[in-house]
Symmetry: C2
Amino acid sequence: MDGKKITLKDIAGRAGLSINTISRALKDKEDIAPATREVIKTLAKEMGYVGNSVAGSLRSGHTRTIAVIVSDVANPHFGIMVKDIEQAARKHNYTIFVINTEEDNELEERAIHTAISKNVDGIIICPAQSSTENIEFMKRNGIPFVLIGRRFNDETDYDYVICDDEKGGYLATKHLLDNGHERILFLNGRNRISSAQERYMGYKRAHEEAGLTVDPLLVKEVGYEPGDTRKTVKMMVENESFTGIFAFNDVIAWEAMYVLQMMGCRIPEEYAIIGFDNIHSRMFVPFPLSSISSSKGEMARRALDILLRKISEPNEKKSYREVVDTTLIWRVSTIGNNEN
Amino acid sequence: MDGKKITLKDIAGRAGLSINTISRALKDKEDIAPATREVIKTLAKEMGYVGNSVAGSLRSGHTRTIAVIVSDVANPHFGIMVKDIEQAARKHNYTIFVINTEEDNELEERAIHTAISKNVDGIIICPAQSSTENIEFMKRNGIPFVLIGRRFNDETDYDYVICDDEKGGYLATKHLLDNGHERILFLNGRNRISSAQERYMGYKRAHEEAGLTVDPLLVKEVGYEPGDTRKTVKMMVENESFTGIFAFNDVIAWEAMYVLQMMGCRIPEEYAIIGFDNIHSRMFVPFPLSSISSSKGEMARRALDILLRKISEPNEKKSYREVVDTTLIWRVSTIGNNEN
DNA sequence: TTGTAGGCGTTATCAC
DNA sequence: GTGATAACGCCTACAA
């Protein structure tokens, strides 16, 4: 009990039976005498036996484990996604490794190596997109994987589940334009990230449709570090004129609102602001922020389903390119009176 | 390359050397000719070899994997903690499983079984505290573990790292009392949870010190479900008189603020509100919420250090009972003019 | 109904 | 310096 881990061998010793009789009894195989089975089961429970699935996986070839590699679980966007993936995976008896890349290429590489060396059955990854090397490595290695939230646009055919970022960017921008904001600051994510690029395309399309051209001075790249947004917003308010703000995600939007409040600006009277991810749907925050809903739950479940499919049907040569719809959710941060 | 996983055997075949030589060369053992070593390493990289640490662990007995079992990673409180644990673990070459219990006893039991069956070297767990059974099971099993955020107060001696909940509850309550709020609604967590109990003790002590008695009608238990807080706050505002609110955590506090705003109440003029966890330190949200800082980062790192210590020194019979200090961080949700 | 043999991929030990 | 062998814990296949 206390101390070393109980193995089938230990039980076999105590029961005076062979290791594999124990193994089969515990797995409810037909060919064991009911009486023996009961004795063994009781004994196993008594001794606190917990199977060593790692040893089993060496034989079977699969671990019922997948790796989830994201930038940062502390960011609610990823936290929610990871939670939903774990929950869905659990239903299929899978366990998940969580590894953060902090948007760093080397950490991402290490994460993938770690995952593969731990024999995961598959990987769900939100790629840092510093290059395609790491993804290419997974491909060559033959490990099943699915990209989540970001994709590669060139000819590569990596499977992915994303949300309709272009549409989201369009909807957010159009919403602001429709409400009379002609100069819209776009606090975008890192340029190298596909979702940032695509949201920008939407931002541009909305402008064009309204007969406006995008002012490049109003498009800013902000990183994940808290101070980043703060500095940018402060600088922009002091130097540029604009009345609308479209933020790459809700966390950035919140920080922008925070900074504006500190500077004594009123929302939405002076600045209307809209985010992305609609975290409000999972977590109430005091000041209701307009946002683009990206159905993280659906993305998470779809990504897992696809991954499990690829794991169980390794020879199926199908490509998965899923784009989950995005919708506009408006609240008081862009329009004063609304009851959401 | 593509398809099946490369093993030492494959490399050995190609190199015309024994499996063993390959293994030792890749691990930079001294007794391999430098030239051979180079050849092997190049070949391994070329073939895309990634060691199978699972197989190795069968021999070595450790997996360099730990399980982190929490209620819900999507809750920023846990998200931040998990992130910090992962980051620290990574530095020690450990990988983490993340499993959510959703505060459910059975899921917790399953999580522990899964972790043990996957041969983790140790477990960091925020216990659901429905009973001590699950914890007792880990103890009997002999797996090293550390409780985080909650503890058991009876004679049991499970190792833990918590924050000073009693002091936190006291500071929060005293802060409100000091600002003239004599009737303070306490939106507490589940009663069975030690941190909820201890924060309540602090709430009570602050009242007593001020010569007041706690009105039991003002102490409410709220669950994790979003709707829960909403209903409670609405009901309390309509039926009871109070001017201060102390929430078990920031997420609950935010939702309370949200509901109050919807009801047209002003903060802090009509209701002063303070939370717990100081999530604002990691994530800016528009309306700065007073809170109790519980140093999640420090708790996470301490818990990991202790766990690693217990893993490496299994015979050391030391008890770890760490209480990280809590401090008051006040912002505009309790006092109108402050620049935090 | 139960036991024996072999193997999953790696590593420690010891022999050559 | 390199190779053979056994072992980690379990499971499949087959033998008794």
